[in-house]
Amino acid sequence: MRRVNSLVLLAGCAALMYGRQEVTRDVDRSLPLPPGRGLRIEHSQGNVTIHSQPGATLKIHASIKCSADQPDDAHNWCEQIKVVVEDSSSGVLVRTDYPHLEGRHSLSFSVNYDITMPDTAPLEVHNRFGAVSVTNPHGGGSINNSNGLVVVSGGHGRLRIENSFGDVQVEGNDGDLSVVNTNGKVRIIDVAGTVDVRDSFGEVRVTQATGRVGIDSGNSAVLVSNAGGPVRVTASFGQVIVHDAHGDVTVQNQNGRVEAMGVTGTADLRTSFEAVRFSRIGKELTVHASNSRVTGDTVGGSAAVETSFGAIELRGVEGNARATAGNSDIRLAGIRGEVYARTSFGGTTVEDAAGPITVESENGSVTVRPGMALNMAVSKSNGPLTEEQRKLEKLRGDADNLFRQGMQGATTCQPISVRTTFAPVRITVPRGMGYDMTARTSFGRITSQPPMTVSGQIDGDSLTGKIGNGGCELKLIDQNGNIDIVW
């Protein structure tokens, strides 16, 4: 690194000593900009730096740099570059006028602005081939840039930023924010208002927005955290991650991973070819995926999950759980409401579900162990458990112990319906609960650990009868697989 530093220093000297003739001309203007009037800047070929502060005075400093083979040429060219300041009833326009050049020439130039403006004045900036930096704009406004970085900090009011081929960074805006970018990253932190972002080929990060967040992203990652309102994200090929959203979350992804953690409202998550993960969803959950693995826990409402060629693992659902997977395993645990699971060529396991259970499977084993769904509310979060979570954890432990000891006195009817082919079925029934059972299989055996009162005809592949006093439906249909009913 020392070598590089030395090289840099030498290079600096060389650049200063050799070749071109460089001329700098400064332009300074100061004029009043009363409240209610705005500032508009039209510029290219240089940076625009704007500081806002209380007051009613606009101070413009332009640094014009020109180089040419001859000093006079550089000087003349610099003189011809005009900083035009037009004062009108609507506000002040600052414009850079470059003289027209024809043919090949040796002139080069850049103009950088350093402007101090009244903080309450609305601002409009148009720039090309340079960076734009605005500090503390309180009057809102718009920035339109290309080929340059845009940085805004400490803003108030509605702000719109457009950029292409440059990053956009907003650090603090007390008002709605809209950003359109083409090929640059967007970083937004701390916005008191809504946030709308459209970016075709750059990563988008939004952190701490109090209002609604809407993001249309093309081919890059989207990360949203600490959103105070609903979040809607549309993406194509990048991962979408939403953490801690105080509202509904909708993610429509095409070919990217989706992750939603800590959502107080509903979550609607869609993608294909990449995994979906979720945790701590306050209300209903909907997942539509294809060729995706879906994993998640702790859903405050019902959960409907659909995928193909990817396993589903769902734990802790307050409402009903509906899982549909093609060619993959399904594992559901801690479901307080009704369970419906359908798959083919994959095993299905349902544990600790409190409501009616229906499993439709093809060529997949089915294991059902009903329960009281007491483990559902304990999330896998890394932080310490809350008081409520601790109580639930204890209850879950007690219930598990009771269940293992065969002492649980189940009192609520929990109908179970299972259908599969070419695979075994194993059902654990709680003691004390009566079932009206119909079991049928061909090329397999039916065994029952709980005593049964058999009714009707007994033949090789079907069995009808009661467990206990009956009363609750237990329907088990299989082909070419054993059926085992156990305590």
Binding site: V4, G12, C13, L16, Y18, Q45, F109, S110, N183
Partner: protein
């Protein structure tokens, strides 16, 4: 060895298997195509510039440049060395990661620096063209949405490069424009590489 298509990837990592792979490719069109593409990548890759490893290099260069006082009376023997150093440094700057240039920094280039930058630019553009020649046929043929997205991005980048080149022609010594052009070339190179990585993984 009875060579099968599935062995190709192993053969690419194991020199001893390559003769078998080539023999197999003579009668297998799919493997022949893959082998050709790998050969092309191997041929083109050494000519490609490497991205600079540090995001903070450019700010450090800028800091150093602005901190260095102007020294007018140096022995003449130093001048060429200094000029060459400037060329090298600016060539490095040309290869900096995208978006490193922003506020501040040297604004106008010297003659020598411009020449070096132009040479580096031309070499960079040529190497990217070669990379594109390898990557783009597959991308053009693919009907996947991802390929369509990459095509769209390349069209966008090519259009921006053309626009920037036009501005560079009008303002040839402007360091910012040159830096932006380099970053767009870098973006194009990255895009092509991403596509090739994706195509290779399929």
């Amino acid at each position: 060895m009875i060579f099968q298509c599935a062995d190709l990837e192993r053969a690419l990592r194991t020199a001893e298997l390559m003769p078998d792979a080539r023999r197999h490719a003579e009668r297998c069109e799919q493997c022949r195509e893959q082998l050709f593409q790998w050969n092309e990548i191997s041929r083109v890759a050494p000519q490609l510039h490497e991205d600079w490893e540090s995001d903070t290099l450019w700010p450090r260069i800028r800091e150093a440049l602005s901190a260095e006082p102007v020294r007018h009376q140096r022995p003449r023997t130093w001048r060429w060395a200094l000029a060459i150093a400037a060329m090298v440094t600016l060539a490095v700057a040309l290869l900096m990661p995208p978006r490193a240039a922003n506020l501040g920094g040297p604004e106008l280039l010297s003659d020598g620096a411009l020449r070096e930058v132009q040479q580096a630019e031309a070499a960079y553009a040529r190497s990217i063209d070669k990379l594109a020649a390898v990557a783009q046929p597959g991308m053009e043929q693919s009907g996947s949405p991802l390929a369509a997205a990459y095509r769209e991005k390349l069209v966008l980048l090519d259009s921006a490069i053309a626009d920037l080149k036009k501005n560079v022609e009008e303002n040839r010594y402007n360091a910012y424009l040159r830096t932006e052009l380099a970053s767009l070339y870098g973006e194009k190179q990255k895009t092509l590489r991403e596509w090739m990585d994706y195509a290779k993984s399929k």
